[in-house]
Symmetry: C2
């Protein structure tokens, strides 16, 4: 099937060059993909140059005169950036002119704008941000919420579990993704009231394959396919992951750089280090979904390079092909009819 | 000065052998240290054998007939294990027969028992668990709370900041430890009400060198000396750290084990890998303090080996030498008089 994807071309730390090159790369990989570069036409045209491949015929430019800054407040962006590349890319989804949009822009502004323009699905109280992380099983673990909601109720966590189920089914082709609720392992206090209540809701639902409580290290053990948590906790866990990985990388480099001998050893070890780095390469896991909206919105990491941005576009393609929002709607409607549990 | 430290000798995944050998090792390092092995006398005597060094004269055995199991509920341990090695080690601190105690037992039971026997310091609403983690600055970052409290108020977070200040001053000899409040980096929602309120309390206190909000990756960047957070968040962050480190270790080993060539490369790289592993060796960071009690209680990781357990004992020695509980009391009393802020 054809997928039409709008790219917020002015977004990200490295600007339109990364988005344009990622677009060209992925067009050559997917025959029926159509891409819309949303942003400053002059800039985009100059980056495209005089290419005249067949693939480029599936690429169009939609001019906009504004862009949302990385540190701009969501409310400011909402009020003042109606002609921004971010806003217009989302508008194209709303208008049915694109099936999904991808942005490497400011997460807060993207969530606020997407929510304002697209609205949430019926039955979904709060959209959530979900991403995949590598695990020891050589599969991946989806984690949500990663920061869209900082005061979730048990009901919200239940809805996250539901949306996570649909996403893991779509992306990983798992018929029954295993769902875990993130908790702490201290014996005395098995979590706060919030997770205890959410566990009750999850235990009695046939649509969710609920495994039970999991801990922070289970994300990387691959104990479950989807880890559900409050956005505050999820964001801290995600940033902790980035921090540990960077620190280890820093010390590895430092150790291999100490003297001539270690640099020689580094040369020998390089292909091996590359081999394991690939398995946990954060670029391969780029592309967080804003779930629960009436449309597909993918957030790329701000610092994404070309390869990394293509993974975010691939995430969008999969979600279009599997029609994730409709599937979430469908499962919600079924639950509403059956149980009246989802408010 | 002499430090007398009671060791819960029946605790930990590897049992009394680790504790006994750690005790012998550290006695030879500290001339004036006195250790009390608390546990089954017959078992401990047989492990000690017929050693007759000078150091061993500073080691005594305190017999107990029970032990707390790793998965025993804190309330069960409190009611039924009055003659356990854990309880008696804490009793020795209460009775003034030891200056501190160290246990590798069940965290929940240790916290509940320590709190019941020793009580909290005046002005401290909740004790907290603090540990040090490695960072890129080759110093360490102290993080609290790690799971003793899952529903903290801004006032609790303020007290954690205060206790963390005292601990970092004592352990790292920092006159003015930098304090950060763990938060999320999403632009829209800079945290929940809890951290926002705590930030206000922290901003206007001369006893605390408050830097502002930090994120999960700042723990490993070394942006601040102490990171303050709710116990749920702290525990998830700690377990995430363990999980990422284990996964990277797993993939490194796997990559170096693929074939003869990679195994040869591993041989060459081994000393280099050892060099950086040492910098982030979790054994060197063993020894979490239960802060806010009228006495010094150190929790060792359950899976600690001999080297690791000695680090937990060293933590106890430092806290005895610096008299951490009294310093916390002192700073609290000053604040109570000055501000009436701490309830």
């Amino acid at each position: 099937m054809t997928a039409r994807i709008a790219l917020d071309a002015m977004s990200g730390d490295h600007g339109p060059s990364v988005v344009v090159h990622a677009a060209l790369k992925i067009l050559s990989e997917f025959d029926d993909l159509q891409l819309i570069l949303v942003g400053d036409e002059a800039v985009l045209k100059s980056l495209l140059g005089h290419r005249s491949t067949k693939a480029i015929q599936r690429l169009s430019i939609h001019h906009t005169g504004q862009q949302v800054e990385m540190n701009e407040s969501p409310s400011h962006a909402l009020r003042n950036k109606k002609d921004s590349s971010m806003r217009v890319a989302i508008n194209l989804v709303k208008q049915g002119l694109a099936d999904a949009c991808v942005s490497a822009g400011n997460t807060g502004a993207l969530m606020a704008t997407a929510r304002y323009v697209l609205k949430t699905l019926p039955g979904i109280a709060r959209p959530a941000i979900i991403t995949a992380l590598p695990n020891m099983q050589e599969t991946c673990t989806h984690v949500l919420d990663l920061g869209a909601n900082v005061d979730t109720t048990p009901e919200h966590l239940f809805q996250f579990a539901l949306m996570g189920t649909v996403l893991a089914q779509a992306v990983d082709n798992l018929p029954q993704p295993r769902i875990g609720l993130l908790n702490i392992g201290q014996e005395e206090i098995k979590g706060n009231e919030n997770v205890k209540e959410a566990a009750k809701l999850l235990s009695h639902n046939p649509s969710i394959h609920y495994i039970g409580f999991v801990e922070g290290d289970d994300i990387f053990k691959g104990t479950v396919d989807v880890v559900v948590c409050d956005g505050f906790v999820g964001n801290v866990s995600l940033k902790t992951t980035e921090g540990v990985a960077k620190m280890i990388n820093h010390y590895v480099k430092q150790s291999f750089n100490r003297n001539l001998w270690t640099r020689f050893a580094a040369l020998i070890s390089l292909p091996i280090i590359k081999n394991f780095s690939q398995k946990i390469d954060p670029r391969r896991y780029n592309g967080a979904s804003l779930l629960g909206l009436r449309g597909i919105v993918i957030k790329s990491h701000g610092s994404a390079d070309v390869l990394s941005f293509t993974y975010a576009i691939k995430e969008a393609i999969i979600e279009v092909q599997k029609n994730v929002p409709e599937q979430i709607s469908h499962i919600l409607a079924t639950l509403l009819n059956e149980k009246g549990r989802v408010k």
